[in-house]
Symmetry: C2
Subunit: 329 residues, 2 copies
């Protein structure tokens, strides 16, 4: 929960004069999201979201993120649509920060995801992967395996203060993944690549009574293996609070994805490795935030050990059956 | 900025089934308010505010607060209107906390109040005082002079850690106010009493382009001297960021109040004393919060010394002319 940068009423009036969405009726900071400052901005034309991009988001990446949302929305994908001002520009500056106004998306994110929610996520993710196929901008995944090694170096020294042996376990895991991580040579066995969301956690997927209503927060989106996106979602959606993997949810997620974009046998085979990588990625970024807490920060860091437990689970998964899916014929 | 209690999607659906405002389209925690958890709840019938009352608000006071908002709104005052469920009840429980849904109020609070804003506040406060005159419920002001003495006892020992001599200055001020504070005997010189808002700070008053749009947050409202409410507002609205009192703003606030409810000469005469009391009240509660910070709390405590400087200003004010008003004839 966070609003890092406050927008005063005068800056807001000045901003809205650059748009054709009417004058401001209300603007309240939203206590969600940990990367940026978000405001629910109601104007005479309805509700919108005003986002001020904070330091963690690189300004040079914003055209990619906003362009992707625009591309997807134009193809009927339910996600926030960036709104252009009278001058045609989407990106501007408010209170000293890059900022954009996007359309408001109805829905509530599920606090206790069910198999029905997982099926919804699988389907919408595959739909996104397909619709983004002709998006021409590119952005490397700086939180893929090379990035993990960098973060590991920065926090491996403090890791054992969080759990004894954690530093060695991370180093060993990285070594294994370096050896088996697919798609690094671009060879014939490379997995299908494209634009991935890379952070499709429950708080980024909205539902209404009749089902999934949309996806938000494309600020980790990048080019990577499509199945890696699924691996992130398996981690984020299919574990119970007690740490157990729920195969019914895993099956729902994977089958529903496969109905929109069938998974190749290479992707299915690599899923346990990709899931280990995804678990390590969130273990590492959470560990880094845990070890680098700012006193008085507005955001409580998330428990890194949740992802250590998930990582250990994936390590003993022998194949997609471990995620609830029948092995490919 | 705060959301202390999270409301899950299932509890929300259960809650809304008790109302006739349609099903939920969106529910986002608002990063404003320091006492309660507030959600901007959009249903098929439009936007509302869902408030979960946290520990600082006494449950037994809620019927007073909600009853007052209902009373005022029914008389055309622009404030949130509590919304009753199908069973006619306003107050319910969500996520283990007392909760209510109120109507949504358009407007943005002014970050840099101008004299125009101050005039708006003066007028709306007098209007509130008049419209609440026939509200029959009562609530004592537990943050009046007896309450200050209690808070002072709790934090006077730590005061000098914030500023050398602060403890003694608070004790001396309390002693003076104990001697001159009006209206304690209920005698003939008692000032006019009624329902006051008691916290009409800029973040509780909304404006649109064409003027003041409404008042929120009645969770400090109580019975007290009406002019004490004005004294709180003089402190909250009429000082510049550099600490100087702006007499143009003071005059705008007081004159505009007086046009709706003329101030008695006793009230005008007592204004500097009431303003000292109001400054001491916020100095003390801020000091208490400052000295009792919870590590990892979501709310940053406000600077108590801002109110020490205001208190010192009021101490040297000789009469209403010091606030920009011509002395009463």
């Amino acid at each position: 929960m966070a609003v890092y940068t406050e927008v005063d009423d005068e800056s807001l009036a000045t901003l809205l004069a650059e748009y054709e969405i009417g004058s401001v009726l209300s603007c309240k900071g939203i206590a969600e999201g940990v990367e940026n400052s978000n405001y629910l901005l109601v104007t005479e034309s309805g509700p919108h979201i005003l986002t001020l991009y904070e330091k963690r988001v690189k300004a040079e990446d914003l055209p990619f993120f906003l362009g992707l949302m625009d591309h997807l929305a134009a193809r009927g994908f339910s996600c926030p649509t960036p709104i252009a001002g009278r001058d045609g520009r989407i990106l501007r500056h408010v209170a000293g920060r890059p900022a954009a106004i996007v359309s408001f998306l109805s829905g509530v994110w599920p606090r206790r995801p069910t198999a029905r929610h997982c099926a919804g996520v699988g389907g919408v993710m595959a739909q996104m992967h397909r619709l983004a196929a002709d998006f021409t901008m590119r952005r490397a995944n700086d939180l893929s395996i090379a990035g993990w090694a960098n973060i590991a170096r920065a926090c491996i020294g403090g890791a054992d203060a969080v759990e004894t042996g954690l530093g060695a376990e991370i180093a060993a895991e990285l070594e294994v993944l370096e050896a088996v991580w697919p798609d690094r040579s671009g060879g014939a066995d490379a997995l299908p690549r494209g634009i991935i969301h890379a952070d499709m956690f429950p708080d980024n997927v909205f539902f209404l009574e009749d089902g999934l209503s949309g996806v938000i927060d494309f600020y980790f989106a990048c080019n990577d293996m499509l199945a890696y996106d699924l691996a992130v979602a398996l981690n984020a959606w299919c574990f119970e609070r007690d740490g157990a993997f729920n195969v019914t949810k895993g099956r729902a997620l994977l089958e529903s994805y496969g109905r929109v974009r069938p998974l190749t046998s290479a992707e299915l085979e690599m899923l346990p490795v990709l899931a280990r990588g995804a678990a390590l990625r969130f273990l590492l970024t959470r560990l880094y935030d845990w070890l680098n807490q700012v006193p008085g920060a507005l955001v409580k860091p998330k428990d890194p050990l949740e992802y250590l437990r998930k990582l250990r689970f994936h390590r003993q998964v022998g194949g997609v059956a471990g995620y609830g899916l029948e092995a490919a014929a």
